[in-house]
């Protein structure tokens, strides 16, 4: 079921949407501190009102070509995750009533492909996105069999 209100944004020249209730803040890019051991689309950690929050380049995670723009940060509701997504730009808030059509998409992270006055929008499934990020981290656990050496 399509949420009542969606937040539209763009990444890698594509339009995406998230359920507005899943996003708690849109921020300008801020100081980010790198940490090792995670896949390259993890840009680092930011301090969001005292919560240490992972910053992920959404385009990179989706296997799309990331744009080297300052972009915006979408901070996910802290009750759901400590995660911010770096996107290219944030657009309007879309009311469900203005959606003219909906179709399926073969990407499991996409809940639906929505037809809107702004064009085709991929409505992201946040739980699947979080699950995918977690699975990646489990898979990238350090290889303890590596021999020592300096």
């Amino acid at each position: 079921m399509t949420p009542q209100r969606l937040l539209l944004f763009s990444a890698a020249r594509q339009l995406f949407a998230l359920n507005l209730q899943e996003v708690c803040e849109v921020m300008e890019p801020q100081q980010c501190y790198p940490f090792a051991g995670a896949p390259p689309h993890y840009l680092g950690l930011i301090n969001f009102h005292g919560n240490l929050t992972a910053l992920v380049d959404l385009a990179g995670f989706l296997g799309l070509k990331s744009r080297p723009l300052p972009g915006k940060l979408l901070v996910i509701d802290t009750k759901l995750a400590h995660l911010a997504l770096k996107v290219d730009a944030v657009g309007s808030i879309l009311d469900a009533a203005s959606i003219t059509g909906a179709g399926s998409h073969d990407d499991p992270l996409t809940e639906a492909l929505l037809e809107t006055p702004q064009g085709s929008v991929r409505l992201l499934r946040l739980e699947a996105l979080l699950g995918g990020l977690e699975q990646e981290l489990r898979d990238s656990a350090p290889n303890t069999a590596k021999p020592g050496g300096t």
């Binding site: 100081q31 005292g50 240490l52 400590h82 350090p142 021999p147 050496g149």
Partner: protein, 547 residues
């Protein structure tokens, strides 16, 4: 949830915990009149509270327990294993019913014929029922004579007391409020570091004095806030008594369980995370450490084995010891088992001290092999136990004497919220290592490095220590060290000491630990994060998960 329901749940659980503790204590010392009375009163109070809230199922179960205890109190029934089983079954039943109340769902657990079995219980009826394999009680045998038991420690004499409720001078506080206080205090500690940095840059004596005074006040505030979060160890201890009882019954062993230090306060968050590791250690002690009665008697020991759980506090450290008087562990057998399993080369085995050999039981993969467990008599889940203790910022050590028993000692910080950590630089990344995982730091010249096979080692106190690169482990470019000096810290990994080379040792910091939420909490080798005084964020490494 209404405030009344929250209060009911909280108090009911305290009563349940107290009842379970007293049941197990009474089994070991059936003559304790005060405990019999307290058990009766506990069931009665529970029934009254449930009745006032109109939770009928809880009333039925508690009422049956109360009646059974009334028969014991009046001398109509001996307090035997059958009574204990029924009361503990009642505790479990009510616990499930309370979960239903908490979740605001209808009761999912039928109380069945429990009330009937309580009402009609007689010792002979219990004997006719199927007895668990290895049940030490013989048909018609009287309860285990208390005369065989060593005298109970002073803390045990308090068993008869009622659970502490809201008394004069105390209040119940929501745990979220305490967590918020801790969080604010942690932020203040971080900000203090920022002020110290600014003070150094400005070189202003009055500012430095003011910051120094603020730092002292913050330390005092932190200590006080942490005390508020402390809960007595007895908040979790009933589970251990029941766990030991259950394993002893299943394995047909006679066990005397002693618990001391139940009044020692530990951080609430720490207590919750200690339950599983301590259960593992205690189960191992009973299941693998303590011998069968016959074997003990042949070895000149009392037929009944003793397992002791002792909690002590020394300033800001907590020590928990689990000691058994069982068969103990043989270091040589441990080494041979690890070699057979391919976890250790024979050459490496030769280098291990007896203490290091005992720690082999904490290597992942060591404990899973049945034949290894049989040889060592230990090991089930010890890798998980060690990891859990290290995550809490603690250490685990094992001491054992073949034939005389084993002692597992946990040393833990009083709090897990603020830690002292060594901050290191690896590539472009800074990371923090809790200082209790760091045995020492070393600056090594290249000439001190020896190559043994594929490994690079150095000598420390006459012991060859293998070298690891933290950069390599974390997938970062290796350091260059143009001055020929390699900074490293020495830690314990997989049962032996290793030197972990980093690019720079940046010094020790007082850090407020923040948990990482989804998705980073799934990342192996990271225990949390913290903000340094200049606002920089660092990951706190969990070396046990990383190395």
């Amino acid at each position: 949830m209404s405030q009344y329901k929250a209060l009911f749940l909280s108090e009911s659980r305290e009563y349940l915990r107290s009842i379970a503790e007293q049941v197990v204590a009474l089994e070991q010392s059936p003559g304790e009149r005060t405990a019999v009375d307290a058990l009766f009163r506990g069931a009665h109070s529970l029934k009254g509270m449930a009745a006032s809230m109109e939770y009928g199922d809880v009333v039925v179960v508690a009422h049956g327990m109360e009646d059974l205890m009334a028969r014991v109190r009046d001398g109509a029934l001996p307090f035997d294993a059958g009574v204990a089983d029924l009361l503990l079954e009642g505790v479990d039943l009510i616990d499930v019913l309370l979960q239903d109340v908490e979740q605001e769902r209808p009761s999912t657990l039928p109380t069945g014929d429990y009330a009937q079995r309580l009402a009609t219980y007689t010792p002979s009826a219990q004997e006719a029922a199927p007895v668990e394999k290895g049940e030490p009680q013989e048909a018609g045998a009287p309860p285990s004579p208390a005369a065989e038991l060593p005298p109970l420690p002073a803390a045990e004499a308090e068993k008869g007391k009622e659970p502490a409720g809201e008394a004069g001078g105390t209040v119940r506080v929501r745990t979220e409020l305490l967590d918020h206080l801790i969080n604010l205090t942690g932020e203040l500690v971080t900000n203090k570091q920022r002020l110290l940095n600014i003070g150094r840059e400005l070189a202003s004596p009055p500012l430095n004095d003011a910051v120094s005074e603020t730092a002292k006040l913050l330390r005092a505030l932190h200590d006080e806030v942490m005390k508020v979060r402390l809960m007595p160890f007895e908040a979790i201890s009933d589970r251990f008594q029941r766990s030991v009882r259950s394993v002893a019954k299943k394995s047909g062993k006679e066990i005397h369980f002693e618990l001391t230090g139940r009044e020692i306060g530990l951080d609430r968050g720490m207590l919750e995370q200690l339950v599983d590791p301590l259960n593992h250690i205690l189960r191992n002690a009973v299941d693998h450490g303590i011998e069968e009665s016959g074997e003990r008697e042949r070895a000149g020991k009392p037929a009944r084995g003793t397992v002791r759980l002792a909690v002590t506090r020394d300033r800001d450290r907590i020590q928990i010891m689990v000691r058994d008087d069982g068969r103990g562990m043989e270091p040589r057998a441990m080494i041979e088992a690890a070699i057979a399993k391919g976890l250790l080369s024979p050459e490496e085995g030769e280098l291990l001290s007896p203490e290091q050999a005992l720690m082999l039981s904490c290597i992942p993969g060591f404990s899973t092999a049945k034949q290894v467990t049989d040889i060592s008599g230990r090991g089930v889940g010890m890798d998980a136990v060690n990891t859990a203790i290290q995550k809490l910022g603690g250490t685990l050590s094992i001491d054992s004497e073949p034939g005389a028993g084993t002692t597992v000692t946990l040393r833990l910080p009083l709090t897990i919220a603020i830690i002292h950590a060594l901050v290191v630089q690896v590539g472009q990344v800074k990371a923090a290592i809790p200082v209790n995982a760091v045995q020492r730091t070393v600056e090594l010249s290249r000439g001190q490095i020896e190559t043994m096979g594929k490994r690079q080692m150095f000598q420390l106190d006459g012991e060859p220590i293998p070298l690891l690169s933290l950069n390599r482990v974390m997938g970062l470019p290796l350091g260059r060290f143009p001055d020929g000096i390699l900074p490293l810290f020495v830690t314990q990994a997989r049962g032996r000491r290793v030197g972990v080379v980093v690019d720079h040792l940046l010094g020790q910091h007082e850090l407020f630990v923040k948990q990482l939420g989804r998705p980073l909490d799934k990342m192996a080798g990271v225990a949390g994060g913290a903000t340094l005084g200049d606002g920089e964020i660092v990951a706190i490494l969990d070396l046990a998960g990383l190395l």
